[in-house]
């Protein structure tokens, strides 16, 4: 409240979104003759180094539903077009993440409450929720744990990538993922998902979707820095009366539960996770292995004893 009332002419204590890097002033032309070294310093205020943990903080309170992230992702990764039909689900004609869609924008119109049509639109978000869905790049990913060939692995940036020359399309990662992300491609018979632009990271560029996002809703950065920024943003929103805001996928928050670990792509959401089709408390599937091993072994042991008794008598 104090910041709003003083309203300085030039605010130099901007912390959110991050300020423009001084080096950016050297590159003001939009068409560049060559590659800028460490471009992510200019565009995302982060220098990409192997060994650090990188990810996305997607602030859905800033999303305007322009789908630039979907387009940039498709363009950079040369992904084929999907079905061109209209779904009838608000402005979401993409549907879901798939083998050929690695960014998917959700649109939730909360027009009425309790069956009564809204007569007043709150100034914040106007009863619309928009969220850009992406692979979470979980710290302990269910897909990596499920992969029997080793095609899925953790990169030097602690992201999760499928090696296309190893995957044999067994399809076990598909039902294992708790977040509806990875899918087998019908075109080439292998599993595909967001790579967090692994190729761009190696070149010092921030991911395509984060670069394209016009409102900086998708923020790329080093994970601990993003988490600090996200916590401050939640506190800021709470102070402005948006008490629904919370983090999904940050350490200890819904989504990063039961062994999945913090999600490298975490979100600031404004409603219950189920509204966005997200599980409130997902769990790592491999935790269900040991109880199953023991119970099956017990059943077999009992039946083997019965078999021994049957053959040994008389």
């Amino acid at each position: 409240m104090a910041a709003a009332s003083t309203a300085p002419a030039m605010d130099t204590t901007v912390t959110y979104p991050p300020p423009v890097h001084p080096r950016a002033l050297d590159y003001t032309a939009s068409i560049l003759p060559g590659v800028i070294a460490n471009e992510s310093e200019l565009t995302a205020n982060v220098r990409i180094e192997p060994g650090q943990q990188y990810g996305f903080f997607t602030d859905t309170s800033l999303c305007i539903g322009c789908k630039a992230c979907e387009v940039a992702c498709k363009e950079w990764n040369a992904l084929p077009a999907d079905d061109m039909a209209l779904t009838g689900h608000s402005y979401d004609n993409t549907g879901a993440l798939s083998a050929t869609t690695w960014r998917h924008v959700l649109f939730i119109e909360q027009i009425s409450t309790d069956g009564q049509r809204a007569t007043a639109m709150p100034p914040f978000q106007s009863n619309w929720l928009m969220m850009s869905d992406v692979c979470r790049h979980c710290a302990h990913a269910a897909c990596v744990e499920a992969c029997p060939t080793g095609a899925l692995f953790y990169t030097e940036f602690h992201t999760v990538v499928v090696q296309q020359d190893i995957c044999n399309g067994c399809g076990y990662c598909v039902p294992a993922c708790p977040f509806n992300v990875i899918e087998l491609s019908a075109i080439d018979g292998k599993a595909h998902k967001c790579t967090l632009c692994y190729d761009r990271l190696k070149g010092g560029l921030e991911p395509a979707c984060a670069k394209a996002c016009p409102t900086n809703s998708i923020q790329f950065g080093e994970l601990s820095e993003l988490e600090g920024r996200a916590q401050r943003r939640v506190a800021d929103l709470h102070s402005r009366g948006v008490t629904n805001a919370y983090l999904y996928g940050a350490p200890g928050a819904p989504g990063a539960t039961n062994g999945i670990g913090p999600l490298h792509a975490f979100f600031l959401l404004l409603d219950r996770p189920e509204v966005y089709n997200l599980p409130a408390e997902p769990s790592l599937p491999s935790r269900r292995i040991r109880p199953g091993l023991l119970s099956g072994l017990a059943a077999m042991a009992g039946l083997i004893v019965a078999a021994v008794a049957a053959f040994a008598r008389e």
Binding site: Y16, C167, Q231, D236, R272, I289, G292, A307
Partner: protein, 372 residues
């Protein structure tokens, strides 16, 4: 009022956990209280269904049968008499045939089958598919060697070396067979598919008993066709009775768990409901249970009844695996099933989440000018 309190599903989260489970179990949402079901995003799936169809359903059946058959052969070899040799013989050949068929089904199901050998690149203990592939490889190799040694006795008449070698290879094959018989239950449970994940403790045990039941049925049919004394058949029947009884108990337990966690819905809708009730339960469990208990209690004595019961057990066992696979895929397509399964165990009230409290604490600690 925050969105948590205003939302139409507010009634859902204000219930205590017991009440939520009761509502979830009673098909929340379809009842008068439409606010008792968690919302979803336009009814779109919240988790992806597996791509497994008939090839994998067939593998679930054949793999379990083969593993349990090798176990039965080992038990009959170690503890049986000379008259039980047909069971040993049949068990070893069925195990090999099953291992070969399983490999064919699995490789054919891969979406890039020419890279099937990549399954043996690594051993990942957190992946049932990884340790399952290694188990199948081990089981197939040792079953092949055991069957070859058995053939040494059967076709070339070398009894002593044949039996010694067959037992030498048959014991590790049987050890792998124990895992073969039920690891597919773990494979299904270690996913995010609601139907399978909800019954993760019972599904592997259920598959173990089903594998034993179908293996006993297969060996019983084969030995009866080859002509064995009644005593051998009765021995197999006692094992089949134990397996069927255990399978019935586990099926009822699984049904109870699914009911309590609100996941029973796919199994109560056609086409899964009839197939499950009449095929899996009726043919697969109740018919063999009735027939074998009659035999064991001495109420009747009929080779034809035994054979029919064995055939029913085989058919019912296959139907059970197929129904559980396809109904599981169907449960993955229903967002309310997955979102209900992943509700927090503790009561969910808007102000209880740790981060909201952290946000409040941060708010108190951060100076005003740092918050823009």
């Amino acid at each position: 009022m925050s969105a948590y309190q205003r939302a139409p599903y507010g009634a859902w989260e204000r219930q205590g956990r017991r009440e939520r489970e009761r509502l979830a179990g009673e098909g929340a949402g379809e009842r008068v209280d439409g606010r008792a079901q968690p919302p979803s995003y336009y009814g779109r799936p919240a988790v992806k269904a597996s791509q497994y169809r008939w090839l994998i359903a067939s593998y679930l059946f054949v793999g379990g049968l083969a593993g349990a058959a090798q176990v039965l052969a080992a038990v009959a070899d170690l503890f049986g008499r000379e008259r039980d040799r047909p069971v040993v013989r049949a068990g070893r050949y069925v195990a090999l045939a099953g291992a070969l068929l399983s490999s064919i089904f699995l490789i054919a199901d891969l979406h890039t089958p020419q890279r099937w050998y990549n399954m043996l690149r690594i051993f990942r203990r957190t992946s049932p598919m990884s340790f399952g592939s290694w188990t199948l490889a081990t089981f197939g190799t040792f079953s092949g060697l055991a069957a070859a040694a058995q053939a040494l006795e059967d076709l070339w008449g070398r009894r002593l070396p044949g039996r010694v070698l067959a037992r030498l290879f048959g014991l590790p094959a049987a050890a792998a067979g124990v895992v073969m018989s039920y690891y597919t239950g773990i494979l299904l449970s270690a996913t995010s598919t609601p139907l399978w994940a909800a019954a993760y403790r019972l599904l592997p045990a259920l598959f173990a008993t089903s594998a034993m039941s179908t293996a006993t049925a297969a060996l019983s049919l084969l030995t009866t066709a080859a002509g064995v004394p009644k005593s051998v058949r009765r021995r197999l029947e006692r094992i089949a009775l134990a397996a069927s009884a255990a399978e019935l108990a586990l099926t009822l337990a699984a049904g109870w768990v699914w009911h309590r966690r609100g996941q029973y819905r796919p199994l109560t809708e056609e086409p899964y409901a009839s197939a499950y009730r009449f095929g899996a339960l009726g043919l697969g469990i109740l018919v063999p249970l009735a027939a074998h208990s009659g035999q064991v209690l001495g109420l009747w004595e009929s080779a034809v009844a035994s054979s029919l019961a064995a055939a029913a057990a085989l058919a019912g066992g296959y139907i059970q695996r197929a129904v559980l696979l396809f109904a599981g895929n169907e449960s993955a397509r229903r967002p309310e099933a997955y979102l209900r399964l992943t509700q927090p165990a503790a009561g969910l009230r808007g102000d209880d989440w740790a981060l909201r409290q952290k946000g409040q604490a941060l708010l108190r600690g951060i100076a005003a000018e740092d918050v823009r």
